[in-house]
């Protein structure tokens, strides 16, 4: 959009990845004179806002300077040798697939830092909180920006320790068990993934993703590809999460602090699906084709399973927890993403990438709202909230209620909002899957997936009815309505949800050429 010097772009991308890391180190040091603020706590929280803000600005400038006419080309690339012995290079670059995710990550982390500045989660010192948040941001941004398999693995692992501590230290009930579950599941998946990555690197002779994608699996035999896809796929599927490897997610979400849930759902889950698109599809297409029907089958099971679990939780008397419900709805939404990827068609993969972003925005917003509800009422238990008739949020705090209804409606995929396009395109892709995939099977998956959207609509509407509506007793205490900092943190998400829904081309125009190129093997 605007012309920015290539070396400035390179610097910006390197800053986006390394900046939070430096900021994390700085957060641990005592504040320099002049920046001490009112108290050390306030100073360090402000430091978090400053750093994430700077990173967000850098990411936005990157997006502006990105050459939108050639989204399939790797831009702002840096390629320097780091460990020659392992042939590991610090290879950074962004294209139309990674750019939206990069901006989404920077945005959500900034909003989280802003939110925590005003509403620090209960727990130990904010110093460690800010440092961990920044390390987490660096790890996620690096995952989307690196173009080397080993570096990808490093970035993938980097988020584990900070997320573990965020859940285990600042979380709610049952946090330590949930944190253990999260880290052990993900680590078991990722060591298996490492074996697959090494297998690819050793057999193909390079770890460079661009070179491997251009090669399009030609230097890998089918059996190598099958083993590699299986092992890498397991690692990514745990992270995504795919049914039946999802069982760490509801616990982690329920126990995590608001900010942790937002980042976990908004950004961390995307690392898994991004890996599917960036690594498996182009680098081992034959292997992926073998597993695509199974992946799609598990994906639709996830859609149905997630929706049914949510329906069960939303029922009266089920003692359903709202956070857990949204976590299960994530399993369903990620099922659509996986279904889109499994079709191996440009339509499906584009839909998957769109659904990724939409889910990040909407679920991030939902977790923020539920967190705010918990602050006000002290519970996320649906039955306690709704009692007999409903929580009557419309009456007690009309703006909060309105936002919650908006987010729920966006999440169920109302046309005109962000949630619609991704799921529709994913289903559309399944209607006509890539050559070599069984069309009847995918048609069945499509039908089941479409049924899933109905179930999704059902449970979300039930939630809206039970939380937002209801009779308002005369003497009921008013709840505090949306505060100004909450407005500041949520408005960007609401606005982007509407923009993405009304103008999908902004995103699809970026991802489509890049996806076409990836599926065609680097050349078109």
């Amino acid at each position: 959009m605007i012309d920015i010097n290539e070396s400035v772009m390179q610097f910006l991308l390197a800053f986006v990845v390394a900046g939070p890391l430096l900021g994390a180190a700085a957060a641990l040091l005592p504040a320099p004179p002049g920046l001490k603020g009112k108290s050390p706590e306030q100073a360090v929280l402000r430091h978090g806002v400053t750093v994430t803000g700077a990173v967000l600005i850098a990411a936005i400038v990157l997006a502006l300077g990105f050459d939108h006419d050639q989204p399939s080309k790797m831009q702002a690339g840096t390629d320097i040798s780091w460990i020659p012995a392992l042939d590991v290079r610090i290879h950074l670059g962004i294209d139309g697939i990674s750019l939206p995710l990069l901006v989404l990550t920077a945005l959500l982390t900034f909003l989280c830092a802003l939110y925590s500045y005003f509403k620090m989660p209960a727990g130990p010192t904010p110093k460690a909180f800010v440092a961990l948040l920044l390390v987490l941001e660096s790890g996620t941004l690096a995952t989307f920006a690196v173009l080397d398999l080993v570096l990808f693995f490093l970035a993938f692992e980097m988020v584990l320790i900070p997320m573990y501590f965020l859940i285990a230290r600042w979380g709610g009930e049952g946090r330590s068990q949930a944190a253990w579950r999260f880290i052990l599941y993900t680590l078991l998946g990722s060591v298996v993934m490492l074996l697959g990555l090494l297998l690819i690197g050793i057999k193909a002779g390079t770890f460079d993703m661009v070179a491997l994608a251009t090669d399009n699996g030609r230097s890998l035999t089918t059996s190598v590809q099958v083993i590699a896809v299986l092992s890498i796929g397991i690692g990514l599927a745990v992270k995504t999460p795919m049914w039946p490897l999802h069982s760490w997610l509801p616990d982690a979400h329920t126990a995590a602090p608001t900010v942790g849930s937002v980042l976990l759902a908004g950004v961390l889950l995307k690392m898994g699906t991004y890996g599917f698109v960036r690594i498996l599809l182009p680098i081992a297409p034959d292997g992926f084709r073998t597993f695509a029907p199974y992946l799609a089958a598990l994906a639709v099971v996830g859609i149905i399973y997630g929706s049914l679990a949510c329906l069960a939780l939303a029922k009266q008397g089920a003692k359903g927890d709202l956070k857990r419900l949204i976590a299960y709805s994530s399993v369903g939404h990620m099922g659509f993403v996986l279904l889109g990827i499994a079709t191996m068609t440009p339509t499906g993969v584009n839909g998957a990438l769109f659904a990724n972003i939409a889910h990040g925005l909407i679920t991030g917003l939902l977790f923020f709202l539920v967190g705010a509800l918990k602050d006000r009422t002290g519970t996320t238990d649906l039955d306690t909230l709704a009692e007999e008739t409903g929580a009557a949020l419309y009456g007690k705090a009309p703006r909060l209620g309105g936002l919650l209804a908006f987010a729920a409606v966006a999440s169920l995929g109302l046309p005109g909002l962000a949630g619609f396009w991704g799921e529709m395109l994913a289903l559309f892709g399944a209607f006509q899957p890539a050559e070599g995939l069984s069309r009847p099977a995918f048609l069945t998956f499509m039908a089941i997936g479409a049924f899933g959207t109905l179930l999704t609509a059902a449970y979300l509407l039930i939630v809206v009815r039970r939380v937002c509506m209801g009779a308002l007793p005369q003497d009921a205490p008013k709840l505090t309505d949306v505060r100004s900092y909450e407005f500041a943190a949520w408005t960007p998400l609401v606005a982007l949800t509407v923009v993405a829904g009304l103008w999908p081309k902004a995103l699809l125009g970026l991802s489509d050429p890049a996806v076409q190129q990836l599926l065609a093997g680097g050349t078109r």
């Binding site: 692992e157 320790i161 680590l187």
Partner: protein
Amino acid sequence: MSSPAQPLAASLVQSVDWLAIAPPTIVAVVGLAVLVADLFVAEHRKALLGWTSVAGLAAATAMLLPLLDGDRSTFCLTGDAAACSYTADRFTLVIQFLVLGGALLAALLSVTALKDARRELPEGEYWFLLLSSAAGAALLPASRDLATLIVALEVASLPAFALVGLKYGDRKSSEAALKFFLSSVTATAVSLMGISFVYATTGTLYLTQVADRIQDVDGQFHTLAQTGVVLTLVGFAFKTAAVPFHFWVPDTYVGAPLPIAAYLSVIGKAVGFSGLILVTVVALPSYADVWGPALAVLAALTMTVGNAGALRQQATRAYSAVRLLAWSSVGQAGYLLVPIAAAAYSGDAEKSIGSTVAYALMYGAVNLGAFAVAALVGRTKVLNRVADYRGLYASSPLSALLLAFFLLCLAGLPPGIIGLFAKVTVFSAAVDAGLGWLAVVMAVNVVIALFYYLQWTALLFRAPEGEPEKHRVPGPVTAAIALTGVLGIALSGAPQLVLRFTDTGLF
């Protein structure tokens, strides 16, 4: 006039390359000097002995520098210049650096430990034994004949038995020493028998000549040669504390003075695996089909048993921190064995060996670092339970952060980047050699190990029970922690420093 005695004299008198043998020699000489000086130094000046030993080890480490320019050999056969008893090639230098540097760090910890013990440990003997053992360990990677190898192995381990049992009147200590001694001597005896079998079938002790001649052993001696190979390996497997020769480790580490446990965990392992590498890769490459599968199974068992043992440790039991480190060192020994096993299958054995060497360097730095912090905590909390580390961050933030870093390096998780990449090289050696099952076993073990490392790490940052007590940190321990910390962090930034050994020829 030419005398007939002259060629005879020339064949008996060798010129010795003193520079090449300087590192182990300096250590040995300083050790003797300290023992003698102990008789003449006044009681209140005994600390001098410690600092002399530290200086000696530092000097020996520095003497590795002039050797970097190329391979040197000495004590060669006059008839055959290729057959030498002592070679200072790249492999030797790296392992000597690991051994001498490790001994230096252990010595730094010992300075404080001896001061704290207030005459309960005999200083002169302590330093003499430590230095002798280090001299033997430094000699071992350089030896290129089976006799020197065994002598070096014994010089390295015999003083270690005494060191373990050195605590006056400590029953646990003497029991540990006896356990260690008996099992080790049995292993050495078995290994000597194996070497005699190999000698019987090949007629030589030089490793390179063994490698040549064992290929065309007379058919009827075939079984004898094979038995010899297996028996020889047993002795070295013991030193690396490979399963089933691991049971002495936990009790020995707990019974020994803490710096000695640290010393054994790194130098003891280095001795074992460098001996294994010399015997397998240099002397017996043609028997790869015998030792390859054996080592692979050994590696899988060792890491599984070690990690399972570490997992079972209860945080509130006495000495559980040292016990945990002991079991984890058994698990880590398993990872060290993986590339040696892979060397049997891959086309490029030196590359695989390089993975072991790189891993060992990483392990040496971070494990000694963890022990150094344990030594620091052990000064105030005598029982050294894992539970005693709760809230360490509140009382001494820097050492808590460093211990967390060391533990995460051992676990192989960022921010312990060097630990991660060291594991990556080991994995890639296994995958490269087609040992997929071993790689999977190792992957499962990495996850198991994460559980106890992370549990300990998490404990460091919990709110402390009661008021955090500030205590003065003694200089030598600070130096050891700082040194290992700087090494670990530098390596995390530039892993190439150690990983390059996976890329270049070592022999």
